[in-house]
Amino acid sequence: MIVQGEYTFPGTREAIWELLLDPAVIARTMPGTEEMVRVAPDRYEGRMRVGVGAITAAEFTVSVQLADVVPPERYTMQIDGRGRFGFTRGTAQVRLAADGAGTVMRFEADLQVGGKIAAVGQRLLDSVSKLMTRQGLESLSKEVNRRLASADPGSRSPNPGPLP
């Protein structure tokens, strides 16, 4: 399964970079994330709960290993999620590019889904992953706006870019 897109955030690459790699922000913004801990500078571990069709709450233990980290430009994630209802694993690449006052994030994930979640949730996987991506990006964008607002109480955050 390929998940890809791009999204324009307000704020500088450095600010976005910091947000994207902050485990507390990930836990707040990534839908279904129940816990996310940075166990090493380049490694995160946590738990997620995801619903796909007939499987209403599949719990996964998730580990994310970072590689090819070039701040504030790009990084690669090795994702490994597993649980009773199957597994998700693969790689995701994230690139940040300055775009005026904002930052464009381009992402591409190549994920393998296996087990029950693939077997009975297949026809919904695509829409669920799109939904989760959209929700994640929207919450992240709100987070950015919130931070910008608190950093500069007088400024108004620009309108975020179009959805992927």
Binding site: A54, G86, R89, Q112, G114, G115, A119, R123
Partner: protein, 779 residues
């Protein structure tokens, strides 16, 4: 002996029990102290199994035991190779059989990794969550051609390649025939996987009685006797210490003759170790990958024909997906190879198949067992040839039918029973005549179809012939006993999965012993009742077990006549059996009830002549020298909605020749059910895998079975060409409905679309049909 019941539409005697909920199924078995099992199964299709940590599962309250492969010790052994390869020159066969629990590697999704036994299934399934599995994923082998390429990942490293088998069978000189041909039709055909989808999933219940030292196993198997024999050997018990009961079973269709499933090996073992009964019932999800499946084959085939449509020869090269293991040997591809020849004279034939290991669940026969692939390829080639030659499709078939005087006809290759593929009997022209007549072939093509086409409707007709090799050996047996009550008991070793055995076997006895079939009690599939035999497969119950039942009844009749003539003081020739009594001809009031005679046959005091056997009981066995050839024609009319690509079947005609018909209702039920399965195969059912070996539609939400609305009532006709290979003249019918349906469907859809597309693959679906049409008709 008058044939009063043979051929009669006796209502199915088992249906009262089945319809009132009084039939015992495996899941009905409920024993005091019984524990429940659940299996942890691999989510990965291919990988190195690094560890299976079951410590937390063992600590869960209510869990009694958890085992992995490492805990099985000496008991861990790969299963037996069930069917040895036939003696074909140059044959390659690499055996790799399934294991009770995976060790070191996992080779398909659903392969069992651990067994949990707990006080309830709920607790057992919760404990599965506690198990931590570490698998290092390997690239999966899913594409048959890529699997054979150098450098492909290997399902079984020790074999050095993914070839499970290769066999070539040929006759005549195809190359020379091709040189003489007016046309050569060559195409690639693909026939994909489906599930057998029996309404009852598998299940095993085992109980060990330490006092009697007896193991009882209830198992949804089609082969209770081989299961008993195998379990006894594995568990170090005598065969008489193991009783396997295959009670009523909600559909077999082939996967239930596979043995030994890991669950069959482990549940009895667990029951013995724990000293408590253990039950495991497969759920539908498990069934999608833990029960065997069938059907992916890719054929590159060509047909060489003369100008008048005479077949000069056929060449076929095909790949067969055997899944991760090949316990069932070559039965399926050899069936495909043989069945392709159909009812036709094919003077030159060159067929070679390669069986390929893949990271998908194990493939074993499913109703038809490869026969449909042969029929599909041959019938499609004939359709294409007819088109190229401007011939009528019925005419090209008639041109090539073996004539009635061609029997026995030796095809010069070997069949799945290792015997030469020799058709015992047949008469194909009349079957085609009846089908043409019943479907209204001429009128449809001349009047109805043109009229409907003018009205903008897309209707088409399909009509195909087929042979079904049935009734193979080695043997089955039966014991017939007249009880003092006057009722008759028939015990046979074959298991029953809905075929109507309780009725047809009773009918075979009724005529011989002069009694109503309802007075005959049939017992099947209980090794304590009958311990010799092989099982229910290859459409052989009526042929092989049926003849044994019939012969045993004849032997009992002889005993009845002998004893009655002594008691009544008349010559045996002066006696006849009717209504459960022996009567004297000309003086029918002088009679003896069979029950009373049975009592006299078991004297409690006094002397008997040396050599006297007690009771009115006899056992007989029957084994044919080789299988016989049933045949038939399927014809259907379909309508295709050009916009939605939905296909409705308007009419479905089957003309079938299964030799002597014991009970037309039972035969027609078998055919109707087979057609339903064939229609599912043709247009609805497909197991879809991704490139990582993940099954993507493992539920009935996404795996579509045809419903009652999709399956028409089949209009049935019979022709009767008795088999000379057995006294009853019977041939099998269990798979006949399923075998040619896809070929007829393909032809009909093609016809409905006026040749806009060629249908070279099965299953179709509305989506697939839409894609095929789209790729052709959108400029």
């Amino acid at each position: 002996m008058t044939a009063r019941w043979l051929g009669e539409r006796v209502p199915r005697l088992e249906d009262t029990k089945l319809l009132t909920g009084r039939a015992l199924f495996t899941d009905d078995v409920d024993l005091p102290g019984m524990l429940h099992a659940a299996f942890l199964r691999s989510d990965d299709a291919h990988g190195v199994l690094r560890s299976v940590d079951v410590e937390a599962a063992r600590r869960r309250p209510g869990v009694v035991a958890v085992w992995t492969a490492a805990d099985l010790g000496e008991y861990w052994k790969p299963g037996p190779a069930l069917v040895p390869p036939p003696p074909i020159a140059g044959l390659v066969f690499n055996s790799a059989t399934q294991v009770p629990l995976a060790r070191e590697k996992v080779r398909h999704v659903g392969e069992p990794l651990a067994l949990v036994v707990a006080v309830s299934r709920y607790v057992a399934e919760d404990a599965l969550d506690d198990i931590v599995v570490d698998v290092e994923p390997l690239p999966a082998v899913t594409d048959l051609e890529a699997a054979l390429a150098p450098g492909a990942p290997l399902v079984h490293e020790a074999l050095g390649g993914n070839v499970a088998a290769r066999a070539r069978q040929s006759k005549g000189d195809y190359a020379a025939a091709r040189g003489r041909a007016h046309k050569v039709i060559a195409r690639r055909f693909r026939y994909d996987r489906g599930a057998a989808a029996a309404i009852e999933n598998r299940g095993v219940v085992a109980a060990w009685d330490a006092k009697t030292e007896e193991l009882t196993v209830w198992d949804t198997t089609q082969a209770p006797i081989p299961i008993r024999n195998g379990l006894a050997a594995m568990l170090g018990l005598g065969e008489s210490q193991v009783r396997v009961v295959a009670p009523f079973i909600g559909g077999g269709f082939g996967p239930k003759i596979m043995m030994f499933y890991p669950e069959e090996v482990l549940i009895p073992w667990a029951a013995m170790r724990l000293g408590r009964p253990v039950k495991w019932i497969e759920d539908r999800q498990e069934n999608f990958y833990a029960t065997t499946q069938e059907r992916l084959q890719i054929h590159d085939a060509e047909l060489a024909v003369a100008k008048d449509g005479t077949i000069l020869g056929v060449k076929d090269r095909f790949l067969f997906d055997t899944g991760a293991y090949d316990p069932y040997g070559l039965t399926i591809p050899i069936n495909s190879q043989c069945t392709l020849l159909g009812p036709y004279a094919v003077p030159n034939y060159d067929s070679e198949f390669t069986a390929v290991f893949t990271n998908r669940p194990i493939v074993t026969p499913v109703r038809g067992a490869g026969r449909q692939h042969g029929v599909f390829v041959m019938e499609r080639l004939l359709d294409l040839a007819a088109k190229e030659l401007g011939m009528d499709r019925v005419a090209i078939r008639r041109r090539n039918f073996l004539p009635p005087d061609a029997f026995p006809h030796d095809h010069e290759i070997l069949f799945q029973d290792f015997a030469p593929l020799t058709y015992d009997s047949g008469d194909y022209g009349p079957a085609m005549d009846r089908a043409v007549d019943a479907i209204g072939y001429e009128r449809f093509l001349r009047e109805e179809q043109p009229a409907l086409r003018r009205a903008g409707r897309h209707v088409g007709l399909g009509i195909v012939s087929y042979i079904e090799g049935t009734g193979i050996g080695p043997y089955e047996g039966a014991r017939v006993t007249i009880e003092p009550s006057g009722s008759v008991r028939v015990a046979t070793g074959v298991g029953t999965q809905g075929q109507g055995h309780f009725t047809t076997f009773a009918q075979l006895v009724s005529d011989v012993l002069g009694m109503d079939p309802s007075k005959v009690q049939v017992i099947t599939g209980d090794t304590r009742e009958f311990g010799w035999g092989t099982g229910t497969f290859a459409s052989r119950g009526a042929v092989v077990a049926g003849n044994a039942v019939h012969e045993a009844a004849i032997r009992v009749r002889k005993k009845v006549l002998k004893l009655a003539s002594e008691v009544l003081g008349v010559d045996a020739g002066e006696l006849f059996l009717e209504c459960g009594s022996v009567h004297v001809k000309g003086a029918p009031e002088r009679s003896l009830r069979l029950g009373d005679l049975a009592r006299k046959a078991n004297p409690l005091r006094g002397g008997v002549a040396p050599g006297t056997e007690p009771g009115l009981e006899a056992t007989a066995y029957f084994g044919p020298e080789r299988g016989n050839a049933a045949n038939g024609v399927h014809a259907m009319i379909v309508e295709v909605d050009r916009e939605t690509c939905e296909v409705r079947i308007r009419r479905y005609v089957v003309v079938h020749d299964c030799g002597t018909v014991i009970n037309p209702t039972v035969v027609e039920g078998q055919v109707q059910g087979g057609v339903a399965m064939g229609i599912g195969n043709a247009f609805y059912e497909q197991l879809v895998w991704d490139e990582n070996g993940q099954l993507m539609n493992a539920s009935f939400m996404d795996y579509l079975l045809p419903t009652a609305l999709d399956v028409p009532a089949v209009e049935m006709r019979h022709t009767v060409t008795p088999s000379p290979l057995n006294p009853l003249g019977a041939k099998g019918v269990g798979e006949a409905g399923a075998i040619p349906a896809a070929a007829a469907f393909a032809q009909a859809v093609e016809d409905a679309l006026e040749g806009e597309i060629e249908v070279l693959e099965i299953p179709l679906s509305p989506n697939r049909l839409f894609d095929l049409l789209g790729s052709r008709s959108r400029p």
